[in-house]
Symmetry: C2
Subunit: 316 residues, 2 copies
């Protein structure tokens, strides 16, 4: 606990090495990370949290670099957490994308972290949100969370930011990639990247038409930007800020807290159950399920009843 306090103090002071260490801790998601987040928590809630999501290769990293440079011109500090599924080959980001951010790395007003989330206790969503908290507590004014692909992790991350920016690219062969990927429901804002390339206009038009088809409410804004020419980047930064002004931040914060708390509680209850002697039971039950002697649902019900009998209702 004193370690967590010490580290937290350094993070709050903006010390880059302490921030890096804190991020490594929340990546692991262990007890030390939990203590650290408890210490940092009172100092969070000031950053604008923006999720940037879209398929691999649509230009998220280049866009984030350009946006970050724009915010720096506006004297805002920027933290970036990139969720990059890890290969055991390198233990982290393999090639390419992260390198593009390097030009910004000499700047104390920017902190970029590629998360190695494989094996994090509590999963990708928890590690990512806690990493965003670390950067928030360290004083970064805008915190971007970049996610690749689609899945429940991405939805969990999207639930936990204030603004979700969905990134598309022109002429990807499938004009409705974003919709197909289920990103529509979570998008607060769309941006079509590579706006300097032919087909970008058509991609915007197609996206607009497709969105209009499916919704009765107003579709999210669709912008176009180019990280190469920098066209549209300032307008995108403006739109992201405008979005923050348009939402009920405290309602979002409550929904966010509810979801996060459910996830943590679920993991804590499992851990408590296993610590109370359920672990050998789980192994035995797994063997029975594997042998086809017991279905997994009946096994889970037996385990729940054993570690926590219904008659012991202790809540009043």
């Amino acid at each position: 606990m004193p370690d967590a306090t010490l580290l937290a103090g350094l993070v709050l002071g903006g010390d880059p090495r302490a921030i890096a260490r804190a991020l490594t801790s929340v990546e692991r998601g262990d007890a030390a990370a939990r203590s650290l987040v408890k210490e940092l928590f009172p100092h969070t809630g000031r950053a604008q949290l923006i999720g940037v999501t879209g398929a691999a290769g649509v230009g998220k990293s280049s866009l984030i670099s350009a946006l970050t440079a724009e915010w720096r011109r506006r004297d805002r500090t920027v933290g970036v957490v990139a969720v990059d599924p890890t290969s055991s080959i390198t233990g982290g980001a393999l090639l390419g994308d992260r390198v593009r951010m390097e030009s910004l790395l000499g700047d104390r007003g920017v902190f970029v972290r590629s998360m190695a989330t494989r094996g994090a206790a509590g999963g990708i969503a928890r590690a990512t949100l806690d990493a965003a908290r670390v950067l928030d507590a360290a004083g970064f004014q805008v915190v971007l969370v970049e996610t690749i692909g689609v899945g429940q992790d991405e939805l969990a991350v999207a639930e936990a930011v204030e603004t979700v920016l969905v990134v598309e690219q022109p002429g990807a062969g499938d004009d409705v990639q974003a919709l197909k990927a289920g990103l529509l429901e979570i998008a607060d804002l769309f941006v079509v990247t590579k706006g300097d390339q032919p087909g970008a206009d058509r991609a915007v038009a197609t996206l607009r038409a497709t969105l209009a088809l499916g919704t009765t409410v107003q579709s999210p804004p669709i912008l176009m930007a180019s990280a190469v020419t920098n066209d549209g980047i300032a307008a995108l930064a403006d739109a992201l800020e405008a979005h923050l002004g348009s939402i009920d931040r405290s309602a979002r914060a409550r929904a966010r807290a509810h979801n996060e708390l459910r996830r943590i509680l679920r993991d804590d209850l499992l851990r408590a159950a296993l610590a109370r002697g359920g672990d050998p039971d789980l192994t035995n039950a797994s063997a029975m399920v594997a042998a086809g002697e017991l279905d997994p649902y009946s096994a889970a019900e037996k385990l729940t009843a054993r570690v926590w009998p219904a008659s012991h209702a202790t809540h009043s």
Copy 2:
């Protein structure tokens, strides 16, 4: 419960409409689904479970169509569960991929289901695995689970099949897409699709070189196939069968059961805790977290202690 028994009986008899209804039930993941899976469970474990994973657009669906046709020539029946993140616009698969499977749909020896997993209680992984169980119980000899993208859901699905086939395409602009996406660790077999196109050989060579870099153990086999010319499809079917013969199926089954059971138990414990009066507490605690008065970890610990005091250790 009698409904579950009746439906289970029809599924075991291979009735297509009953299978479709059973799949809809496990998609919802509600209490009826649980009863159904309990009924079907004793009749599962016969199918070969194969996961097919890779980024969007690499040709998974075409490959699955070609493989399915090959298995049908070998007189094997095939079930396919495709995990397709849902758009609310259509409430299901949007366009394209599923259509390609249509040519096989007149055949009772094939069953294809695109899962609408958004909002499934227990999540995508559970719905998918239970869908595979339905098809297994219905007597399909090969059950393919197709997943798009990467994330903990995909890992959970990969943990639950016997063979993981990772699909790559030539010249995707990033030769190490699969590795970057963290698919290496879970791959039992790689296939480079579109083997009729230029660049396929190079993609295989690059993949082989990259795999060799990172591993001390033997790399998984890398095959090349074309759904257009059908080249390599029979060899791929052979390789998938050979893989099944090479693994310790019962060890995999135990690991699989352990993971699945942990997930179900975790969800069951949360539900039980909330049912025991924790739900208003959760709402209150969420409001405190949102207001910045309490961090989420301390909140989860308080809730755990309240619904399940440490002194009430009931396991002996």
